[in-house]
């Protein structure tokens, strides 16, 4: 086979191959071709998204580490920083959901401790098809199992997450995982290799033929007929190995033994070494014959691109090599000097004495061509209307409420999150279903709140506004806990960007993300892009997943979503302008997606959310919950369910009952409860109507001549609809 044909088979274009030859001044050999094809893959080079990502604001007074390192970080007081990042593992999870999801968690945790932070929490963001389908149930069950297996076993709590069920994810499920870590501000480490003559040490698991060409190739191409052939590349996660790797890495840092640290992710040794060299403006010599192998007879190129999990690279002074290896020994992880830092900015691959590859670092990391997209809005609907499961003739609000509570996107996630250890490390102040965001106590008595959000269906309706909504939904969740946003991470899950309307979705979505972050003054500290999420069934809904971290001064005053005190008043706050198109009710009714969503006044919403978080953190409100999927009545039911208590409310007459009760406008309406004085005080800062009182064991809502009365038991019954998925 001609080299150019091999390059094409490995995913390079003809022009890219020609450019590789030009950079090398010759044709690449086998090792070089393998390394270039991965380094220049979409997954590693971000060639279709890099230019767009430059719009995202990444500055702010609290920023400790911005995009470009393995994870970003913000300062959280008392000399601590909080690192966080979200990453996708979509394609591996579609092939083998348990191991795919597990290794996704393993990968994002390594990104966190690669910068020297101890992982303190995980969140997951999942998208699957219709839960009635056997395939979806299999994927979901195994993905949740895999996330739990990894997180639980390594001792990092999974404190939150989200899952949506929508048709377009049927053949392309999404599995995104977010991790957070805590470090002393002076304890962070970067990945830039430096110090000519310093030693390069590989430590962790032995290298096998795992996922050769796997993640990078999988994540850079549409899933097609040949999936089966890609299967032998399944990587198995070993959380026990990672636990030792984590403790070993942090001990090495604690002892001040490291110059640079980097995890091995997609493209294995190739990308980790090239990135370290590039950031440090140095070169690296790597002797693949020194890499501890799990399988005999591996070729140099296989060693360079293997995606075996649970491995790290570090740079250390020759004088401290022995000390580094001793720490590795203590934690029972292989530690091996595999190379050294060189002056000339070249990545040289040696196999013993033989030179088997020689590539300019710049060519590998910086010279992959970046492409401009050719966005064009679709002229007809891209997605079919969802199937109708609730007839338009059903107009009784009680019946609609119960149908919504039982619908897959709203029903309780308890059967999922009970499979996750949410309390290990003794920081969890708010667990799942106790509040709108997870809350973790911080060393100085304060706390952070974390939320992850992004409704692909709404982004499909309107990529710009839908993405703004995802950000505001996140900040609303934080506000309900009393937290002010500090920083944002994101994972952009989209279809094939070479297609004009996918390019348009991506462009509009990033524009929305940038505008929202700027208006809210929240820096984007990092993220990930997952493209080509398409299959025979068409593209996924465009799905930007937004993860956000906020802070509150007093952990003891973290907000709750559930009604807490019988006799307290219930109020509704915020400039809420609900609409039905694109809502969960519209979905249940099988309505077409609208081609736009009502624009949001970000500044007004920011002010309202500020009023909420100020009131919560002052201890004035006994509960706060934002109105999200399903609208106002569903939010009220959720407050009753979380508090285990009913409420009697009179909304007054309204001209459009269905829109009032079930219309949506993410991030803009809040159900709050508290004493009369407290609500009066909050009402000074934000539109607020008092509707009734907490108490009893029914939710009893009157509006004009309409009245809805539902017992807590009936609410609970409907809300438990997902339980049969996990028999």
């Amino acid at each position: 086979m001609r080299t150019v044909d091999r390059a094409l088979a490995l995913g390079l274009t003809e022009a890219e191959f020609a450019l590789v030859c030009a950079k090398l001044d010759r044709e690449p050999n086998e090792v070089e071709l393998a390394v270039f094809s991965l380094m220049w893959s979409e997954h590693c080079a971000y060639k279709h998204s890099k230019k767009l990502l430059r719009q995202l604001p990444s500055e702010g007074p609290r920023l400790a580490m911005g995009p470009g390192e393995n994870a970003g970080a913000v300062t959280v007081g008392d000399g601590y920083v909080l690192a966080f990042k979200v990453e996708s593992h979509n394609h591996p999870s579609a092939v083998e959901p348990f191991q795919g999801a597990a290794t996704g968690v393993g990968g994002i945790l390594r990104d966190i401790f690669a910068i020297g932070a101890r992982p303190i929490a995980i969140l997951d963001s999942l998208r699957f098809g219709d839960p009635e389908s056997v395939r979806t149930r299999y994927l979901l069950d195994h993905a949740v199992g895999g996330i739990g297996h990894y997180g639980n076993s390594i001792g990092v709590p999974t404190i939150g997450g989200e899952v949506y069920f929508e048709g377009p994810y049927e053949q392309n499920c999404l599995v995104n995982a977010m991790a957070l870590g805590l470090a002393r501000a002076d304890g962070l480490i970067r990945s830039a290799a430096s110090g000519v003559g310093n030693a390069l040490i590989l430590f962790g698991a032995a290298t096998g033929r795992d996922g050769i060409g796997g993640a990078s190739v999988l994540a850079s191409a549409e899933l097609g007929e040949e999936d089966a052939a890609k299967r032998p590349t399944v990587q198995v996660g070993d959380p026990f190995a990672e636990k030792k790797l984590l403790e070993c890495s942090l001990e090495l840092l604690d002892r001040g033994l490291l110059v640079a640290l980097q995890d091995l992710g997609a493209a294995g040794l190739s990308s980790s070494s090239a990135e370290m060299a590039s950031k440090g403006e140095v070169g690296l010599d790597i002797d693949v014959s020194r890499v501890p192998l799990r399988e005999a007879g591996m070729e140099p190129w296989e060693i360079m691109v293997s995606e075996s999990q649970e491995r790290m690279l570090c740079v250390t002074d020759p004088e401290t090599v022995a000390a580094v290896l001793a720490v590795c020994e203590k934690w029972e992880v292989h530690g091996t000097v595999i190379g050294s830092v060189t002056e000339e900015r070249v990545l040289r691959v040696l196999d013993g004495d033989a030179m088997v590859g020689e590539m300019p670092v710049e060519a590998l990391v910086d010279d992959c061509p970046l492409y401009d997209l050719t966005p064009s809005p679709p002229t007809s609907a891209l997605y079919p209307a969802p199937p109708c499961v609730l007839g338009a003739d059903v107009t009784d609000p009680r019946e609609i409420l119960l149908a919504l509570l039982a619908s897959p996107n709203i029903a309780s996630r308890r059967p999922l999150f009970e499979q996750y250890d949410c309390i290990v490390q003794s920081r969890t102040v708010r667990r799942p279903e106790q509040a709108d965001a997870a809350v973790l106590a911080m060393p100085g008595g304060g706390a952070i709140a974390v939320s992850i959000d992004g409704s692909g269906r709404r982004v499909a309706c309107d990529p710009y506004t839908g993405t703004v909504e995802a950000v505001l939904e996140c900040t609303a969740n934080l506000a309900c806990c009393g937290a002010e946003p500090l920083g944002l991470t994101n994972c952009l899950n989209f279809g094939n960007p070479e297609k004009p309307h996918i390019a348009w979705q991506l462009t509009e979505s990033i524009r929305g993300l940038a505008d929202a972050c700027r208006a809210l003054e929240v820096p984007v500290v990092g993220g990930n892009v997952s493209l080509y999420n398409e299959s025979g069934g068409g593209p996924i809904y465009p799905t930007p997943v937004v993860g956000m971290v906020g802070e509150l001064p007093d952990a003891a005053r973290a907000g709750r979503s559930g009604f807490a005190v019988a006799g307290d008043l219930v109020g509704f706050a915020g400039p809420f302008r609900p609409s039905l198109p694109g809502s969960e009710l519209a979905k249940l009714r099988g309505e077409e997606l609208p081609s736009s969503l009502p624009p949001l006044d970000i500044a007004a919403l920011r002010a309202a959310q500020r009023a909420i978080f100020e009131a919560v953190r002052a201890g004035a409100l006994a509960s706060a919950h934002d109105v999200a999927e399903g609208g106002f009545l569903v939010a009220l039911a959720e407050c009753c369910l979380a508090g285990g208590v009913g409420a009697v409310l009179d909304l007054g007459a309204t001209d459009d009952l269905e829109r009032t009760l079930f219309g949506e406008s993410p991030g803009s309406g809040f159900v709050v409860s508290g004493s009369p004085d407290a609500l009066a005080a909050v009402g000074e800062l934000v539109d607020l109507d008092v509707f009734g009182t907490i108490g009893g064991d029914v939710l009893d809502v009157t509006s004009g001549r309409a009245r809805v009365v539902v017992s807590l038991d009936d609410l609970r019954g409907a809300h438990s609809a997902l339980a049969p998925l996990f028999p």
Binding site: V95, E96, G208, R209, P232, V236, A241, Q309
Partner: protein, 77 residues
């Protein structure tokens, strides 16, 4: 009824952390000269129609992406 056993093991080349753990533990207990340890699953069942066993393995009992299997029929009967 035929008593059958299905032996399921990690595919060659796939990481087998359990096997590694056992291989490490044995020498510490004074058992030397042990190698190539792999840990898998054993499924024992009575079947009316043993010709269905292969299909059962492929559909449910085994994850063909990461596991190999072997069927032992009438093993103990």
């Amino acid at each position: 009824m035929t008593r059958a056993r299905v032996l399921v093991r990690p595919k060659a080349g796939i990481l087998d952390p359990q096997g590694v753990a056992v291989e490490r533990a044995l020498p510490a207990l004074g058992f030397s000269g042990v190698a190539n340890v792999h840990v898998g699953r054993l499924i024992e069942l009575d079947v009316e129609d043993p010709s269905q066993l292969q299909a059962m393995c492929e559909k449910l009992l085994v994850n063909p992406l990461i596991e190999d299997y072997e069927i032992l029929e009438d093993a103990s009967a």
